[in-house]
């Protein structure tokens, strides 16, 4: 497959190989520590990110189940809560401070640890070198550091749960003065300090990762891999990394100033505060300043979460529809537009915080404009499905679900982005519905899609598909059942972050709906254990993966199944085409990998595997439609499959003659 590389490229790779790595898999043996723990191999680091992210995800998910219990049955003693939370749930009734802490940690963990580090960290690490055709990241060492800072950050955040005064509890947006004053709530003591420390470590990790991703994409693409030959995944990871590098430092600035206010007596965010019977000396600061700094990161952050999910969806949808992604350039263009616009819309989180209303005017316009590239993406996914030949792997199910959620959630952004409407909706459950659907659910769906799709690449084994199907349908149903009613609760004027709905006429009405949503949420959380089971069992004992199980075009599937340090045993394959030549007329099968040149095609190089099970995949019938593994009948034994195929082939031939 690789014999067509010119000598000059071979030399280039040899050099690159030599520089980029301290050796090759064959050359030296690694110890347990360097292979599994302090690994500098991007594939291992991707697994580390994934497993840490998933662990945090389960912590965050269980937290949400706990506070949903409180919302559904406020004041009702639930004895097991006391067993679990001790003094924070005396007599089985959750303490309001702890409720807030759970909400805060749930948000922080999901936004940063799962959907930022868990998502970007896993897939950028795994796919950037493999899909660009590089042997590893630009700096494997910094890559390793990036993971370990993330790990430290997770450890600190986890420790903060067990502090005596409780973890941080002012919401994931940690607005001061609440987060600055220990007297304002117990969580603003040591818990908040640990939160700030953890997030600082997190940002360091994220910056190291992002710089590496950018450098790798720009400098280490294989021969022939023009920027416009990159899969959309890489484009998404690349732009995400740029957005991250430009916005995360601002969060660090905000966090450090907050640390100063908390510990050194400065007044960046504090002014004229009278609390617990005392006048504080701070003068001249502004809490709104913090909001500006926070949302200057915060808004780009939501796209840092979403864009990798969009990238993954593009790839999975194209591959499993057996169709080129519709409007490849428009997809890149809209990603670019979103990246740029995401820096100038942060004020839409602050329409009613006392920000100058004229600024609000500008933020209305830019905010609604960002909906255009988002809409283009949604339409393009739809056009990709149209006249496709869709194969429902679990990854594809999650990708389709992602598109549906993205549309539902994106549309509600148009209510919130329009300042007059936001007056009614700000800080209500409508906002909670909006971002859980467009960011929470849809990005998680993107992440699941990625995990199911690249599991064979990560672990060399296949995941069980039936469990995948069940996982998808339960998750999809529970996502809508949990979050859709929240729109109406918000439209009824119920503010978010309420410990109980019992105190207002306005809120009481919704207690029964809370019961329904809690049940849906618990089913959703429980369904994730199906996934966990499938993940662990398949990673250890799953069916061995073929080299290219989804008959995909991208380069990672040309690398051997077992992980080699350096990815390809010989030369890195050169690239001759874009990644979306699916069902191209004239091709022998319904895909043409990027490393197959037109000459190869003319020469009739056989790039597909026999066990592709592609109807017509034997090259006898030209432009072939595709079924692949997953379109086969489900539980039949492999022999049976072959038998049936033989039969149908026989039949076809009979008919022809």
């Amino acid at each position: 497959m690789i014999e067509h590389q010119s000598t000059s490229t071979a030399v280039a790779h040899a050099v690159e190989h030599h520089e980029g790595h301290h050796g090759h898999h064959e050359h030296h043996k690694e110890s347990f520590w360097t292979k599994y723990i302090f690994s500098q191999d991007h594939k291992m680091i991707a697994k580390q990110f994934l497993i840490t992210g998933m662990t945090m995800g389960f912590v965050g998910g269980i937290m949400s189940a706990l506070f949903r219990l409180q919302l559904a049955w406020p004041d009702t003693p639930i004895p097991f809560l006391e067993a679990l939370l001790g003094k924070w749930a005396k007599g089985g009734v959750m303490d309001p401070n702890f409720y807030m802490a759970l909400v805060t940690l749930h948000g922080t963990i999901m936004v940063f640890f799962v959907l930022t580090a868990g998502l970007s960290g896993t897939f950028s690490n795994l796919l950037i070198p493999l899909q660009c055709g590089a042997r590893d990241m630009a700096s494997p060492f910094i890559n390793m550091l990036s993971y370990w800072f993330f790990f430290l950050s997770s450890v600190v955040m986890t420790i903060s749960i067990f502090v005596e005064t409780g973890p941080a509890a002012p919401g994931w947006t940690i607005y001061p003065p609440l987060s600055a004053l220990e007297k304002a709530m117990p969580g603003s003591g040591l818990g908040m300090t640990l939160w700030l420390l953890s997030m600082t470590l997190f940002v360091i990790s994220s910056l190291m990762g992002s710089l590496n991703y950018i450098a790798t994409v720009l400098n280490m693409r294989t021969v022939g891999m023009k920027m416009l030959h990159l899969p959309l995944t890489i484009w998404a990871f690349f732009l995400t990394a740029i957005v991250g590098v430009l916005s995360f430092p601002v969060l660090v600035a905000a966090v450090i100033l907050l640390l100063f206010d908390r510990s050194l007596g400065t007044s960046f965010y504090l002014s004229e505060i009278y609390i617990a019977g005392q006048h504080l000396p701070n003068m001249g600061g502004s809490p709104v300043l913090f909001q500006h700094l926070f949302w200057f990161l915060g808004h780009p952050e939501v796209y840092i979460i979403l864009m990798p999910a969009l990238g993954i969806t593009s790839e999975v949808v194209a591959c499993n529809s057996r169709k080129p992604i519709f409007g490849y350039r428009a997809m890149i263009g809209s990603l670019l537009a979103i990246s740029i616009l995401s820096f100038i819309v942060w004020g839409h989180h602050m329409f009613v915080t006392g920000m100058n209303p004229f600024l609000g005017t500008i933020f209305i316009v830019v905010t609604l404009v960002i909906a255009i590239p988002s809409a283009v993406k949604a339409f393009n996914y739809l056009a990709t499905l149209w006249k496709g030949n869709i194969i429902y792997t679990p990854a594809m199910l999650f990708a389709v679900g992602m598109v549906s959620l993205f549309v539902s959630g994106g549309l509600t952004g148009l209510y919130l982005g329009n300042a007059p409407l936001d007056v009614v909706l700000h800080n209500t459950y409508f906002v909670v519905a909006h971002f859980h659907i467009v960011m929470g659910a849809s990005a998680i769906f993107g992440m699941f899609s990625g995990i199911y799709h690249w599991f064979p690449k990560l672990f060399g084994r296949m995941m069980n598909k039936q469990l995948g199907y069940i996982h998808f349908w339960l998750t999809f149903a529970s996502a809508y059942a949990t979050f859709f009613p929240m729109h109406f609760i918000g439209l009824a004027g119920v503010p978010r972050r309420y410990y109980a709905f019992t105190e207002f006429e306005l809120t009481k009405v919704w207690v029964d709906v809370n019961v329904f949503m809690t049940i849906a949420a618990i089913i959703g959380v429980a369904a994730q254990f199906i996934f966990l089971y499938n993940f662990i069992v398949s990673a250890l004992w799953g069916e061995r993966a073929p080299k290219n199980p989804w008959r995909s075009n991208t380069l990672e599937w040309t690398a051997p199944v077992e992980h080699l340090h350096g990815n390809w045993p010989g030369e890195i394959p050169a690239v001759y085409r874009w990644p979306y030549d699916y069902s191209k007329p004239g091709a022998p099968v319904d895909y043409i990998p990027q490393n197959i040149s037109d000459e190869d095609l003319a020469r009739g190089v056989r790039y597909w595997e026999d066990d592709d099970h592609t109807p017509g995949g034997d090259g006898t019938t030209s432009p072939a439609g595709g079924g692949g593994h997953y379109a086969e009948e489900e539980v039949r034994k492999p022999e049976a499959v072959h038998f049936k195929e033989e039969e149908s082939r026989q039949q076809k031939e009979d008919e022809r003659s």
Partner: protein, 402 residues
């Protein structure tokens, strides 16, 4: 291990376990837990009954039992299927192509999603806020309906297309996908159409935003009320007969002068704080809230009037509106004699954030005058103690004990 999980049988059992654990817990876990479920159910029926005057029994039967029955049936079906599969070692899905099943489920799901949306529209949409009770609020409502129509249309069309495409274009033997990488005209079209739709929302949005922030006081001077947020209650100060609020100063805040009124200012002599957890507003008169916070951020939120503005320590904010519907009229309109306008805190401020209720009474000019007469001007010296029942809402039970 070749075939790790013999899918179908395990599903049945995992699913059953999940459902029983998640949903059935109150039903199946014995007396104590069942009591909890009952109590919650009673409270919710009561709450709904009060608000909507629906017969509690009706609700009990409809709302509470349908989901339970459905779930029970599902559980039952899966138990039976699982058992059958196990006993006969029979795989009911043997001859079913997973691809077709999943594609069909897309349609089923799309339909169920439609049912959910319609259900929400029928049962939950009526529980949302009634039409605005303030002038600018009616503009906001117009914007809401414009947005609802546009996004609603896009939502329905897009979701239908997604789920039907997902079904119709499923893999079938002998079919081939269409190689169709781009179509610039089409792409241009669906860049422009959203742009037009957005313009329809942006233009009124900008106009209404301007209106909200530029209230017209040329005809009538507003009633200025000071709103001060603190953990965990709202304090109000009315200007009294002179129509002017006395000065205040941060340094003057103390236990006995909770909002820091400057008693050396003559204008402060007749200022008063309502003596109950409620404020009264005259109908059809502009009201201007001057908003401050003493400790942390709070949010002044009067959803019926479409009013929402942060209370920020160290930075005064304001919000002007004209209440147009009296409490009485609203009670008639909603057919709910217990209705009250409520003011909430919209910005998280600590443990009892959920419990900062104030009742807002909008009434006719005469009634308002009467109420004014019943209020005592407050002498903001250090001798004054807090009005007795003003702070009823400090009984934030477990919150304050910490």
């Amino acid at each position: 291990m070749q075939n790790v999980i013999k899918g179908y049988k395990w599903f049945a059992f995992i699913l059953v376990a999940v459902i029983i654990w998640g949903v059935g817990a109150p039903e199946l876990l014995g007396e104590e837990v069942r009591e909890i479920g009952k109590a919650a159910q009673e409270r919710m029926t009561q709450a709904i009954g009060e608000a909507k005057e629906i017969q509690p029994e009706q609700l009990n039967n409809l709302v509470a039992w349908i989901p339970k029955l459905v779930i029970l049936l599902i559980v039952l079906a899966f138990v039976l299927a699982g058992l059958a599969a196990k006993l006969v070692d029979f795989n009911p899905f043997r001859n079913v192509k997973a691809n077709t099943v999943n594609a069909s489920l897309m349609v089923v799901f799309g339909l169920l999603f439609g049912v959910l949306v319609v259900y929400e529209m029928i049962y939950h949409a009526p529980l949302t806020l009634p039409g605005a009770s303030s002038k600018h609020g009616r503009e906001i409502d117009i914007l809401y309906y414009i947005t609802l129509v546009i996004t609603g249309l896009v939502f329905v069309v897009m979701q239908i297309l997604i789920f039907t495409f997902a079904y119709r274009n499923r893999y079938r033997e002998g079919r081939q996908a269409l190689f169709y990488p781009e179509n610039h005209k089409l792409e241009l079209l669906w860049t422009i159409i959203p742009a037009v739709g957005l313009a329809c929302m942006i233009i009124p949005g900008l106009k209404f935003w301007y209106d909200i922030n530029h209230p017209d006081f040329s005809k009538e001077k507003p009633l200025t009320i000071e709103v001060v947020g603190e953990q965990f209650q709202w304090r109000f100060r009315y200007p009294g007969k002179d129509g002017k609020l006395g000065r205040h100063a941060f340094k003057l805040i103390s236990d006995t002068n909770p909002v820091g009124v400057d008693s050396s200012d003559v204008a402060s002599k007749d200022d008063f704080t309502p003596t109950q957890k409620e404020i009264h507003l005259p109908v059809n008169k502009p009201v201007l809230f001057q908003i401050r916070a003493k400790d942390v951020l709070h949010g002044v939120y009067l959803p019926h009037f479409r009013v929402n503005m942060y209370a920020v320590p160290g930075m005064p904010t304001q919000f002007a509106f004209i209440p147009e519907v009296t409490t009485e009229e609203m009670r008639v309109r909603l057919n709910n004699p217990n209705f009250n306008y409520e003011m909430l805190c919209s910005q998280l401020c600590g443990a009892a954030h959920y419990n900062m209720r104030v009742v807002v009474v909008v009434e006719s000019e005469e009634k308002y005058k009467k109420w004014l007469a019943s209020q005592q001007p407050e002498v903001p010296t250090n001798s004054i103690t807090e009005a007795k029942d003003r702070n009823n809402n400090t009984n934030i039970n477990n919150a304050t004990q910490l």
